[in-house]
Subunit: 441 residues, 2 copies
């Protein structure tokens, strides 16, 4: 089957990440969709500017009008930002019968009603998963995953910059201005941080979340917005003492008297999962009638996460253009005939870190014997602790954490440890995982 062709307007961080994801995972993507998905064309303001992505197979067009009207392009991806020109191009694209994918939250929050009406009239779609909370598929979760629910409220940490600042203020007792400066140095905050710290960015996203949660037209001007620049280190500390934590939340709530849309610093109980979302990470909590509480967590910005959402929208449309509607998504996500034959490991072949606990005679040299055996198997120890025997007890407990090793080695080492005369009974072994977050692309 011929490829689905994508035309991208704007090759900044997100645009280049989109190109890279579609290229790096091209084989898997074709297996998921049932046909290749290819970036065939792109349009940039300055074609001479060096880009971070490989554009060797992409035809660069000078004029955006050529791209949105190009007969070979199935899906136009708008990643240029801004509202006026983006709206104009979006309207041109849907008028030309192209499906439109965008990461532009301002465009959707402020002009979505107009854009959607135009798309509806032209029989095309406008997809905007990337506009809210980056890599978290929250639009899909609400519009589809929770489609049977009446939603009571949506509350989200939907601006990573603000959450980074509040997390640092809390962890290190630092003042707002001080952390903001660091965030600017790290590239988390813009030179003019107003958009992030005063909640305008969050208000754009909240506008969208509220509309899909409650089925109301987009109404950005109705959002009440209060920033975090007035939150003091003293308030952060007081909140902690009271068992709360201050987060900059976007909240959309349906009550008997109406819907409230608001972005403001909020004290929430420390025990809530939302209070434990730290640094630049985002999370959206939904309260709905059938499910109760659910929460969606991930990186809210950056090329990889935002590009992932753009690609998810592209693949959604590509699947609609490819499969029969009822079999749009293959049973196991990949086309049945493209399932993989990957070796499945036995537990002995799995690498893990370990927690060990054993009872030992309270004699000198026990520890040396145990660590000696571990050393023979190349198992290095991260932490070790021996509790002194309590009164009338002649045995001590040894607890240790090891570094990662193939399980077979650990099992053999434990056999030898258990055979020691100084070790009493069986050694308890529990696996330890850190799930170190791998760098996103």
């Amino acid at each position: 089957m011929k490829p689905v062709n994508i035309g991208i307007i704007g090759l900044g961080t997100v645009g280049c990440a989109t190109v890279e994801i579609l290229k790096a995972n091209a084989a898997d993507i074709a297996d998921r969709v049932g046909r290749p998905v290819v970036v065939s064309h792109a349009c940039v303001r300055d074609p001479s500017k060096p880009r971070s992505c490989d554009l060797s197979s992409v035809e660069l067009l000078k004029d955006t009008a050529d791209l949105v009207n190009h007969p070979d392009i199935d899906i136009v991806v708008e990643l240029m930002g801004g509202t006026d020109l983006a709206l104009d191009l979006g309207l041109q694209a849907v008028a030309a019968g192209k499906h439109l994918v965008t990461a532009n939250k301002a465009l959707i929050a402020e002009h979505g009603n107009q854009l959607f009406a135009a798309a509806q009239a032209n029989g095309v779609t406008v997809a905007y998963e990337a506009a809210v909370a980056g890599g978290i598929p929250i639009i899909k979760a609400i519009r589809e995953g929770l489609a049977g629910n009446r939603i009571h409220s949506v509350a989200g940490i939907i601006n990573g910059t603000g959450n980074f600042i509040l997390s640092e203020m809390r962890d290190k007792g630092r003042a707002f201005d001080d952390v903001l400066r660091e965030a600017q140095e790290l590239g988390y905050a813009e030179a003019d941080p107003t958009f992030d710290v005063e909640g305008i960015d969050a208000a754009h996203k909240l506008t969208i979340l509220a509309s899909i949660a409650f089925g109301i037209p987009l109404n950005f001007p109705a959002v009440f917005t209060e920033g975090i620049s007035t939150v003091t280190a003293e308030d952060v500390t007081n909140a902690e003492k009271l068992g709360y934590r201050i987060k900059h939340l976007g909240i959309a709530e349906q009550t008997e008297s109406g819907v409230s849309l608001r972005v403001h610093p909020t004290l929430i109980p420390q025990t809530q999962l939302l209070a434990n979302v730290h640094g630049v990470m985002n999370a959206v909590q939904v309260q709905s009638d059938a499910v109760g509480e659910s929460l969606y967590y991930g990186a809210g910005a950056g090329g990889g996460p935002t590009g992932s959402a753009v690609v998810a929208d592209i693949l959604d449309i590509a699947r609609a253009l490819t499969a029969t509607p009822e079999q749009r998504v293959p049973f196991l996500g990949f086309q049945p005939e493209r399932l993989k034959n990957i070796p499945l490991l036995t537990i002995e072949a799995v690498e893990s870190a370990y927690y060990l606990r054993m009872r030992a005679a309270d004699q000198p040299g026990v520890m040396a014997e145990v660590t000696g055996i571990l050393g023979q198997f190349g198992i290095s120890i991260e932490a070790i602790e021996q509790t002194e025997p309590v009164q009338h007890d002649t045995q001590a407990t040894i607890i240790m954490l090891t570094h990662r090793v193939i399980e077979q080695k650990m099992v053999e080492a434990i056999k030898q440890i258990e055979a020691l005369q100084t070790i009493v009974g069986a050694v308890t072994m529990i696996r330890v995982e850190h799930f170190n977050t791998r760098q996103s692309t």
Copy 2:
């Protein structure tokens, strides 16, 4: 447009919840899909048994064969459980050209390959969102939301009973057997708890998650399974001291040498979000190349959450049967002409709890004046604290938390408090939210 007709086999907790959700939210659902979705038929083992749901508009059939072959039924929903008969009925349904929705994790994990092949040959779909992690739309998130990603690992708390037991052991230092007995009394655990505490239930779910994450055929026998019945209170305490927490995880990981599929007690760092998932709640953490870490949290069992997933699958199919493929999901989740005109509240009309901080002259009677004003506005105080002035300071800081009140009243009360001669400067006001989890249906 004529309704999409549903035939349900099995009206236990999940079956009745599905009926209730489709009825309670019928108007919204029709607005989302573009046509009504109706439970037209059902089949139960014992028609004389009283049911918790209103079946007045449902035709009860005696024979399952009549249901799966009924010409009026578009989607067959299998909620009877078990594997042999469920597989037989599933195969009959797809052979009859019906789409199949099921919550049956054992059926999919053990016989999914066969069932999917039959559905593929018959041009129908088999949907199973409810089979994994109840109300969390995790199948959709992985198959669609993360479709552009290469997934490294999936790690989940996917058995609520086990997580409840481990949470209680940690919180209260209780022994496994003791908590298990309580879980059985509360109805969280079965009389024979093997399925839950030995990880078989989790292994079924992990089998499914691994296949959609990595694109491999379902292979339940390949899952290594270790239960939590051997986890001692001592190990739980030791883990906490070391900065870890013990969770019963299902882990599917892709490494250079192959894929590992395993369910076992696991120490994970307390700072990870997964370690902060308590009680019967479920969560699934995904590591993937473009997004990095993402996590999906919610109730993993119960009628409401599982019924929500069943309904989501039904609506997915109903949308495919209704709209043009590319416009399958309406822009804002609801049909454009069905968007609602709900009043949007100004911030003054929003009800919230509040944190207040003020500086007061260190004089007797200040506290009485402040609380008196709050009382006049009907604002009750949840907590109040006055810090003594430090040396050379003649002012004290008063901090308080209030109960919920309309913001307008709070603003007026603050105006009066600020006008007090004994209060210095402005009163700091930050909103407080508890997001009390509403009971699911």
